[in-house]
């Protein structure tokens, strides 16, 4: 079997049509056929269909989508909401922005079907502020959908009403966390909420709310059209369907590769034309910087939810950032920690303080002034952050710390014991002690 047969162009297929962002072109490419079909059946049938498909969330956690929809209490007399998490920002991840830019109606159509299934009459797309062109296209698509009767009152004569608002964020990674996103959407600082209660019962405005990623919702029309059995012909038994893998770094052809879930990094690198000449794979993230690093020993791990977990990491957002023997895992981890330190919302002490101090320890090590004790300090700090905050941001920050210490301790020792030239200057060290 050739590696090309692992490609499964489903969500990315319309990207080839330069004008698919326009309603007329989208409609020629099966657009809104799924909505017409969905409105013919009972909402519970749609929830059952999505359950049967085995679709799992594409935003990083991999929670079963149909199950999440099924948690929404029905006939409870409260308004229900669908909130789409389009706050793409996990370092390495770049699959949702192109989807919204080149195929925005796919997200709009998925949003209408999902809202119908969970009986929501209002939906919001919370899009990252910086994603301006995707937002332009999305807002245009929403306007077109209203004009065509796909949104608003009595959609296609079904009696179902839906209003959809595209809401731009303002630059805060934490708002990609679902409860921080809800607080932000309510006009507050984006800080996570303690769970339980979960958004399924107390989400937006304390009402039942489904929060789903862009890729999850954009998958729904295809499942409605092709059926659960067809969807399951792709992927693995417990990780069904296609997935957009975002490849970046030391490879010949970085880019978006939509493949059957369970493809390996070895195969992905082959699809991407191999490593950049002169570079050998050293470390990589399977799903963004919040997932523990893997190494060249993990080239044949199937990149599905369960296999990556068994290998000690997380599939996350399938953002595979590929680093070579010319890149330093200690420096890479330091730079990620600067990010987590900057993006920590400050609500929980372990994350706020722990990241602040770990950045300083890394600066000390990288400027050639580290000690062996620093490595214990890092592990101890990571241990005190992990699982001790409201949300996963702090947990994610520890991923590269503990995994780089596990696989690349020698690199740390090389700085500490003076075998490797300092990577940071004295200037960068100000305030490090």
């Amino acid at each position: 079997m050739s590696v090309f047969e692992k490609l499964t162009p489903v969500l990315t297929k319309r990207w080839l049509s330069p004008d698919a962002w326009r309603l007329d072109v989208y409609e020629q490419l099966d657009g809104y056929a799924a909505l017409r079909k969905a409105l013919q059946v009972h909402p519970d049938d749609l929830i059952a269909l999505v359950k049967d498909s085995g679709l799992r969330g594409r935003g990083g956690a991999g929670f079963p989508t149909g199950l999440k929809w099924g948690f929404i209490p029905q006939n409870d007399g409260k308004p229900h909401y669908l909130v789409i998490n389009a706050d793409e920002g996990e370092p390495g991840t770049c699959k949702d922005l192109p989807l919204m830019t080149y195929d925005p109606h796919a997200l709009v159509e998925g949003a209408i079907i999902a809202s119908y299934a969970i009986r929501a009459n209002r939906a919001f797309i919370y899009i990252r502020g910086e994603a301006v062109h995707a937002a332009r296209r999305l807002r245009h698509a929403v306007q077109e959908a209203y004009k065509a009767g796909y949104l608003g009152q009595n959609i296609l004569g079904s009696g179902f009403d839906l209003d959809l608002v595209v809401h731009s964020g303002a630059g805060a990674y934490i708002c990609g966390e679902e409860t921080a996103l809800l607080d932000s959407l309510e006009g507050m600082r984006g800080q996570p909420r303690l769970r339980p209660p979960f958004p399924a019962t107390h989400g937006l405005y304390a009402c039942p709310t489904v929060v789903n990623n862009v890729g999850t919702i954009a998958s729904v029309p295809y499942i409605v059209l092709g059926g659960a059995a067809w969807w399951k012909t792709m992927g693995t038994e417990k990780s069904s369907g296609p997935m957009i893998y975002s490849l970046s770094g030391r490879i010949q052809q970085p880019g978006q590769y939509e493949c059957s879930l369970g493809i390996t990094l070895r195969e992905l690198i082959e699809l991407a034309g191999g490593m950049t000449p002169g570079h050998n794979l050293r470390f990589w993230t399977p799903g963004g910087s919040s997932t523990p690093l893997l190494t060249a020993d993990h080239l044949d791990v199937p990149l599905d939810f369960d296999s990556v977990a068994a290998a000690g990491s997380i599939l996350g957002t399938t953002a595979t950032q590929i680093f070579s023997d010319q890149d330093c895992p200690v420096y890479a981890t330091y730079r990620w920690l600067e990010f987590y330190h900057h993006e920590s919302c400050g609500k929980c002490t372990p994350c706020r303080e722990g990241n602040y101090w770990m950045v300083r320890v890394y600066r000390r090590i990288l400027s050639g002034q580290g000690s062996h004790e620093d490595l214990d300090t890092l592990l101890d700090t990571a241990d005190n952050i992990l699982g001790r905050s409201f949300c996963g941001l702090g947990d994610g920050a520890t991923s590269s710390v503990t995994s780089s210490l596990q696989y690349f301790k020698q690199d740390y020792l090389d700085y500490i014991e003076g075998r490797k030239a300092p990577k940071l200057s004295e200037k960068a060290l100000a305030g490090a002690h």
Binding site: F4, L7, T8, P9, T12, K13, W15, L16, W21, D30, A34, K37, V41, H42, D44, D45, A48, L49, P91, T93, C94, L97, T101, Y102, R122, G129, E130, A131, V132, H133, A135, R136, R139, V165, V166, H167, S168, G171, A172, Y173, S184, M188, R189, Y205, L225, G227, A229, W230, T233, P242, S246, G249, P254, G255, Q256, L271, Q321, F323, A332, W336
Partner: protein, 233 residues
Amino acid sequence: MSGFSTETYARAKEIIARYPEGKQRSALLPLLHLVQNEDGHVSPEGVAFCAEQLGLTKAQVGAVATFYTMYKRRPTGEYLVSVCTNTMCDVLGGQSIFDALSDHLGVGHDETTPDGKITLEHAECLAACDYGPVVTVNYDFVDGLDPESAVRLTEDLAAGRPVQPSRGARLCSLKEMALQLAGFADERDGAVADGPAGEPTLRGVKLAQQYGISPAGFDLNTPIPSAANGAKQ
């Protein structure tokens, strides 16, 4: 009362109407973008304006405004040049680009050139890692830069020469962009159509096309099983 235009007041009303009755505070983020459309940053007057519109205190508005990096505390330039220096872009040359621009423009992070043309910032991951190192101007992507071409880009911006983002709409000013962020359509003729997809975006799907691969067995008339059949499941 603040000195905002009647148009801004009308737009504020339109923004607030997007959200459910009694939940108008949801309008705060778009309103903060809106005041940047007029002022170029969130000024004390802008904070007061938002507070007045939503019946909040200025402290409540200020607490939100200071949380988000896209709300600027000081006047900004006509163009915001953002350079990603997160890990991947850093190793691919983002830090060198930032350093070259900082030297050339004589400003550091979140600072503006004396002529008011350019604000420079280092940014965290901008979600285009397959194009790294990533640089944006007023949040639209300008791909394929190195330190030299990035310096030329800022010279062009400062001199008013046309700059076309690689995958976004034709450039507008940062203030104009703030209006779009507040949720208003880009009214410039053809702007929504601008910006072809770049090669990295299309690589996987083009490979599939080249090798004639598409998932087998897709039939859009596959019936949806009706176990529930309208009844309670």
